[in-house]
C-alpha cells in the first residue's frame, strides 16, 4: 500500500520556505555589519576618533559634522573619510531595515551589561520618615539586618520591629489618625510607584547617554533590569544610571561650631577609651583644634584599629583585615583621639582615605552621636583629593535640614567656566537654572546667609561648598568641583533627567567585554562546526545511505531551529549555541532508534519495506516519550534560568521539538520515495 505523502511534502517545503524567509534578515544583517565594521575601522584610522565615538555620532546623525570638525586642519584626509562615512551611512540604513527581524545576539556574545536594580527600601523609608530619632535609627538598623534574608518581606520585618520597639508607625510616617496597616500600604504603594517613575527616569538618562536599543524592564515589584548592549565604559554607565542624583543645598555650620563639636567628640572618645581600659582617670579638658591652619605636616604612623578602639575586636566590626590600620598623629592620640585621626585641608577638615572608616565608626558610636547637635550632621566630600602621597576626603558639618532641593531645577548644562573667580576659569562646571519658586527660595537663603558657606550635595555627598558672597536673585547656581568634561556632562545628564523617586542599588551585574564576546562567538562557531562534522561523519560511517538521510534531517533541524529563533525573537547566547550543539547529538537519537529497529526487523526476515514500516511504527512512541521528558526539564530550565541559561533552554527545547518533525516525518518521506521507485531487496543501513 502506498502512503500518501503529498501533505508531508507540502509541509516540508513550507518549512523550508518559511526558514528562508525568517533567516534572510539575519544573513543580510551579518553581511552588512561586517562591511560596516571595515568602513568604521578605516574612518577611525584616518580621523583618529575612537570607534565608540564614531558609533555614537552615527547614531545621532552627526557623523559628517563630527568628521569635518575633527579633520578641519587635515584637508587631505577629509574627502577620504567623508566618502567612507557616506558608505557607512548607506549601510547603516540597510542594517536598520533588516536588523529588527534578525536573530538577536545575547549580551554574552556582543558584549554588554546586564544590571539589576532594586529599590533600596531602607533608604526609601528613611527618606520618607518625618522624624528620625535614636529609636528610629535603632529600629531601622535591625530591619535592615533582618531583611537581608531571602524570601523575607521588608515591610513585614518593619512592622514587627516597630511593634517590638513599642511605638506606632504613625510616629514616623503618615499621620496620627492613620492605622498602621494603612501606613504600610501607603509605603508599599510609594515603593511600587517609585519603580514606575524610576523606570522612566532611567530610560531618559540612558537615552541621553546614547546606547543603542537599551532594554529596560521591570521585574517583580521592586526591581528594574537594564540591559545595555555593546557599551565599553560600564563604570561610567553605572554611574549615570544608578545615581539617585538627589540634589540638595545645605548650609555648612560655622567653623566655631564645628570646632566646638570636635572638642566634644575628643572628650567623648577619650572617656570611652579610658572606660574600656578600666581606667578611672578623668578626661582632661581637650585643646581645640585649629582647623584654619594650612595642612600641616603630621607625625603620622600606622596604628592598628584595635588600639584605637580598645575593648572591641575587629571581628565584630566585620571590616576586612586590610583596613585594620589607620594613620594617626601619635602626639595627639592620648589627649585628643579624634583630632589624631583628622587634619586640616584649607578651611575644612581633611581625613586621610585610610582613616575614613575609622572616622565613620567614631561618628556612629552612641557616645559621639550624643554630642553632635541634633540639627547637624557630618558629611563627606564626593571625591578624594591627592595631597603629597596621601588621598584626603573632606568632612563637613552641615545643617540636617536642606534649604533647597533639586526638584526645582529646570535645566542643567555642562560648560567651561568663564566668570567668577579667576582660578576657576577654564574649568568644567555645571550651571543650573531653577523655576521661579526655586529661585525665590534661593534668593532668600543666599540673602540671609551672606558670608556663610552653602554646600551643594549630591546623594548626601558634598560636591562643593562655596562661600555666599551676595544674594543670588535669578535662580542660577553653578557646581564646580574639579570635574573633567565627561564628569560634568554626566552630572548634567542626571540633573536634567531628575532624581530617582526612590534610591536604588545594583544587586546584580553581569558584564561581558567586547573582546570576550567576539571570542565566544568564534568558539561557539568552531565548536558547532566541529561537533556537526563529527556527528555527520559518524552517522555516515555507521549507517551509510541511511546515515546520509539522517544527516539531511539534522541539517534541516538546525535550519529550522535558527528560523524559529528569529520568528520568536529569542536571543542567541553562548549556552544557546551549546544547546544547539547538544541537539546535534540528541536529534540523531531518534534516527538511531528507528534505524536500530529497522535492522532488527530486517534480521527477523522482513522485507525492506515492511522493516521500514515496522521500524518507524515501533520507534515512534519511544521517541515521543523520551523527547517529552527531555522537553519537560528544558521547560523547567526556561522558567528558572536567567539570560544565558534561558537561551540554552530555548534552543534545547526548539531542537527537541523540531527533531520530532525532521527525524521522523522528513526521513520517512525519503524512504517512501526510495521504496516507491522500485522494489528494494536490500537497504543501506
Amino acid at each position: 500500500m502506498r502512503r500518501n505523502n503529498t501533505f508531508r511534502v507540502v509541509l516540508i517545503t513550507l518549512a523550508l520556505v518559511w526558514s528562508g524567509y525568517q533567516l534572510y534578515p539575519t544573513f543580510m544583517t551579518t553581511r552588512f555589519k561586517d562591511q560596516a565594521d571595515g568602513h568604521l575601522n578605516k574612518i577611525s584610522q584616518t580621523s583618529g576618533l575612537s570607534i565608540d565615538d564614531l558609533n555614537n555620532a552615527l547614531r545621532q546623525g552627526r557623523l559628517e559634522q563630527q568628521l569635518k570638525a575633527a579633520l578641519a586642519n587635515r584637508s587631505e584626509a577629509l574627502p577620504v573619510a567623508l566618502e567612507e562615512a557616506q558608505k557607512l551611512i548607506t549601510l547603516d540604513d540597510k542594517i536598520a531595515k533588516h536588523e529588527p527581524r534578525a536573530i538577536k545576539r545575547g549580551l554574552d556574545l556582543q558584549g554588554g551589561s546586564y544590571l539589576v536594580f532594586e529599590v533600596d527600601l531602607a533608604k526609601m523609608v528613611r527618606d520618607l520618615a518625618k522624624n528620625k530619632d535614636a529609636k528610629f535609627e535603632e529600629v531601622l538598623r535591625a530591619v535592615e539586618a533582618k531583611a537581608k534574608a531571602p524570601n523575607v518581606d521588608f515591610f513585614d520585618v518593619l512592622v514587627q520591629e516597630i511593634a517590638s520597639a513599642q511605638v506606632r508607625l504613625s510616629r514616623y510616617w503618615g499621620n496620627r489618625s492613620q492605622e498602621d496597616g494603612q501606613i504600610v500600604e501607603d509605603l508599599k504603594k510609594n515603593a511600587t510607584d517609585s519603580v514606575d517613575r524610576n523606570l522612566e527616569i532611567l530610560r531618559n538618562r540612558i537615552d541621553q547617554f546614547g546606547v543603542s536599543e537599551p532594554s529596560i524592564t521591570r521585574q517583580g515589584d521592586r526591581r528594574i533590569v537594564v540591559e545595555l548592549a555593546g557599551i565599553t565604559d560600564v563604570g561610567r554607565a553605572k554611574n549615570i544610571i544608578g545615581k539617585t542624583a538627589q540634589l540638595k543645598f545645605s548650609l555648612v555650620r560655622e567653623p566655631e561650631i564645628t570646632n566646638d563639636v570636635i572638642v566634644k567628640i575628643n572628650a567623648a572618645m577619650k572617656r570611652a577609651r579610658a572606660g574600656s581600659r578600666n581606667d578611672s582617670a578623668q578626661a582632661a579638658e581637650a585643646a581645640p583644634v585649629d582647623t584654619t591652619q594650612e595642612a600641616k605636616v603630621r607625625n603620622d604612623e600606622e596604628v592598628s584599629v584595635s588600639e584605637l578602639f580598645p575593648g572591641s575586636t575587629s571581628a565584630d566590626s566585620g571590616e576586612p583585615a586590610s583596613d585594620s590600620t589607620v594613620l594617626v598623629d601619635r602626639e595627639l592620640l592620648e589627649e585628643n583621639p579624634f583630632s589624631a585621626l583628622i587634619g586640616a585641608l584649607g578651611p575644612d577638615i581633611g581625613v586621610p582615605e585610610k582613616n575614613v572608616r575609622a572616622v565613620e565608626r567614631v561618628l556612629h558610636s552612641p557616645e559621639v552621636r550624643n554630642v553632635v547637635p541634633a540639627d547637624a550632621e557630618f558629611l563627606w566630600s564626593n571625591k578624594a583629593e591627592q595631597l603629597a602621597d596621601t588621598k584626603y576626603y573632606r568632612l563637613y558639618l552641615v545643617k540636617r535640614e536642606a534649604e533647597l532641593t533639586g526638584t526645582n531645577l529646570t535645566d542643567a548644562r555642562a560648560n567651561i567656566g568663564s566668570g567668577g573667580r579667576v582660578s576657576r576659569q577654564g574649568e568644567w562646571e555645571v550651571s543650573m537654572e531653577m523655576n521661579s519658586e526655586g529661585a525665590k527660595t534661593f534668593s532668600v537663603v543666599t540673602g540671609a546667609n551672606v558670608n556663610k558657606r552653602l554646600a551643594i550635595l549630591l546623594d548626601d555627598k558634598i560636591v562643593t561648598a562655596p562661600n555666599i558672597n551676595e544674594r543670588i536673585p535669578n535662580g542660577r547656581a553653578v557646581i564646580h568641583g574639579a570635574m573633567d568634561a565627561e564628569e560634568a556632562g554626566d552630572l548634567a545628564i542626571v540633573l536634567r533627567a531628575g532624581a530617582l523617586q526612590a534610591p536604588m542599588q545594583i544587586i546584580e551585574e553581569r558584564t561581558v567585554g567586547p573582546s570576550l564576546g567576539r571570542d565566544s562567538i568564534e568558539k561557539g562557531q568552531n565548536s558547532a562546526i566541529i561537533g556537526f562534522v563529527i556527528v555527520v561523519a559518524f552517522m555516515l560511517f555507521y549507517y551509510r545511505l541511511s546515515g546520509l538521510i539522517a544527516n539531511l534531517a539534522l541539517l534541516l533541524n538546525v535550519i529550522i531551529v535558527f528560523a524559529a529563533l528569529a520568528q520568536f525573537k529569542a536571543t542567541l547566547t553562548l549556552p544557546g549555541i551549546a544547546g544547539i550543539i547538544l541537539t546535534f547529538g540528541m536529534a540523531v537519537d531518534a534516527n538511531v532508534l528507528i534505524f536500530e529497529r529497522i535492522r532488527e526487523e530486517l534480521r527477523g526476515g522482513k522485507t525492506v519495506k515492511a522493516a521500514i514500516d515496522a521500524g518507524y511504527d515501533r520507534a515512534f512512541w519511544t521517541i515521543f516519550d523520551a523527547n517529552l521528558t527531555n522537553a519537560l526539564t528544558a521547560m523547567v530550565l526556561l522558567q528558572f534560568g536567567t539570560g544565558p541559561v534561558k537561551g540554552f533552554a530555548i534552543t534545547l527545547l526548539f531542537g527537541i521539538a523540531v527533531s520530532m518533525f525532521t527525524a521522523i516525518v522528513f526521513t520517512r518521506v525519503i524512504y517512501d520515495w526510495m521504496t516507491s521507485r522500485r522494489v528494494m531487496t536490500s537497504l543501506s543501513i
Binding site: V234, A578, M586, V588, L593, T629, T633
Partner: protein, 311 residues
C-alpha cells in the same frame, strides 16, 4: 553494514550487585568530600560577591596583581591565573559596597600596570540576597523537574518505573556533584543548567529501555520469563542504540569541553560526567530497582500487573 554489537547476551542483572556497590562507593566518596569541604564549592552566583576576568597583553606576576589589590584593601581577594598566564580571575567576597568593587579594582590595575593595564573581559557581581535567591531557585528547579518526571513516567509506565527513573537521575546528580567536589570544581548557574540537562538526557535513555521492557513484558508473558530475564533481554536489545546515542552525545560534549572556551568549561565538564553516569545508571540503577521491586512481590501479582501494563 557496520555494527558494533551483534545480538548480545550480557547478563547485566547478574552483575547488578557489583554495580550497586561501585555506585555506592563512588557516591559515598563524593558525599564524604562534600562533608569535609562543607558542601559544594559554590560560585559567586550563589554566594554573592564580585568576579572579574582581566586579560593582560603580557604574562604578569600574580604577586604584583595581589599587591595592587592589597593597596585598595582587597588583600583577601582570590586570584587565579589561567590561560597563557595573561588571564586573571579576581574574586572578592566582600559585598557591602556592591558593584563599586569592580570599578575600583579595574582602576587599581590601571594604576599598577600603566603600560599594560589589562582588558576587562567580564565582570559578574551578585548581591548576597540574589545569591541566596538563586540557590533556592536552583534547588526548586531540580526538585520540580524530578517531580514532573515522576508524574509523567508513572502516568506512562508504572509507578515503580518512575521511582527507578528518579532514583537513577538522583544517582547521576550525586555522582556528578561528588566528582565536582573531589576535583574542587565550582558549581555555578551554568552547572545547575547542566544538571537539569543531564537529568533530561539520562531520562531519555531510561525511557528507551523502559519502553522496551514494557513491550517485552507484553510479548513474553506467555514464555513465562523471569522479570530479570526480560530486563536483561531489553537492555541487550537496546544496547547498541544506547551506545550509539551516548557516543554521538559524548562526541559533541567533548567538542564543547575542548573548544567551547572558559565560559562554558564547567558546564561542559558537568555534561561530560553526566553522559557517562546517565548511560550507566539507566542500566544498573533504574532497571535494577525495578527488578528488586518485582522480586519482593508475588509472582502472580507481577503477571497481573504486567498484563495490564499501560497501553
Amino acid at each position: 553494514m557496520v555494527q558494533f554489537f551483534r545480538e548480545t547476551h550480557i547478563d547485566f542483572m547478574q552483575k547488578r550487585k557489583y554495580a550497586i556497590l561501585a555506585s555506592a562507593i563512588l557516591i559515598l566518596i563524593g558525599i564524604a568530600s562534600l562533608i569535609i569541604k562543607g558542601g559544594p564549592k559554590y560560585s559567586i552566583d550563589f554566594l554573592g560577591g564580585t568576579e572579574i576576568h582581566v586579560q593582560f597583553q603580557q604574562p604578569q606576576d600574580p604577586g604584583a596583581v595581589r599587591e595592587a589589590l592589597a593597596a585598595l584593601g582587597y588583600g583577601d581577594a582570590e586570584i587565579k591565573q589561567f590561560g597563557g598566564r595573561e588571564d586573571f580571575l579576581i574574586r572578592v567576597q566582600q559585598q557591602e559596597i556592591g558593584t563599586q568593587i569592580s570599578d575600583n579594582i579595574l582602576a587599581a590595575l590601571q594604576k599598577a600596570f600603566p603600560s599594560d593595564p589589562g582588558e576587562m573581559r567580564s565582570v559578574e557581581s551578585v548581591g548576597p540576597k540574589i545569591g541566596r535567591e538563586l540557590r533556592s531557585a536552583s534547588v526548586w528547579a531540580t526538585l520540580i523537574s524530578l517531580f514532573l518526571i515522576l508524574i509523567y513516567v508513572s502516568f506512562r509506565f508504572e509507578f515503580i518505573f518512575a521511582v527507578g527513573a528518579v532514583v537513577a537521575l538522583f544517582h547521576d546528580v550525586m555522582v556528578t556533584l561528588g566528582i565536582f567536589s573531589l576535583l574542587n570544581l565550582e558549581v555555578n548557574l551554568a552547572v545547575v543548567a547542566a544538571f537539569l540537562t543531564l537529568v533530561g538526557y539520562s531520562l531519555n535513555d531510561t525511557i528507551v529501555i523502559f519502553d522496551r521492557i514494557r513491550e517485552n513484558l507484553k510479548l513474553r508473558r506467555r514464555d513465562n520469563l523471569q522479570i530479570a530475564e526480560i530486563i536483561n533481554l531489553s537492555i541487550n536489545q537496546t544496547l547498541s542504540r544506547t551506545i550509539l546515542t551516548s557516543l554521538t552525545v559524548f562526541f559533541v560534549v567533548v567538542v564543547l569541553f575542548l573548544f567551547g572556551g572558559q565560559v562554558i568549561h564547567n558546564f561542559s565538564f558537568c555534561m561530560l560526567i553526566g553522559v557517562i553516569a546517565g548511560s550507566y545508571s539507566t542500566i544498573f540503577i533504574a532497571a535494577t530497582l525495578v527488578v528488586e521491586w518485582y522480586k519482593k512481590h508475588h509472582l502472580a501479582k507481577i503477571k497481573q500487573r504486567s498484563a495490564v501494563a499501560v497501553r
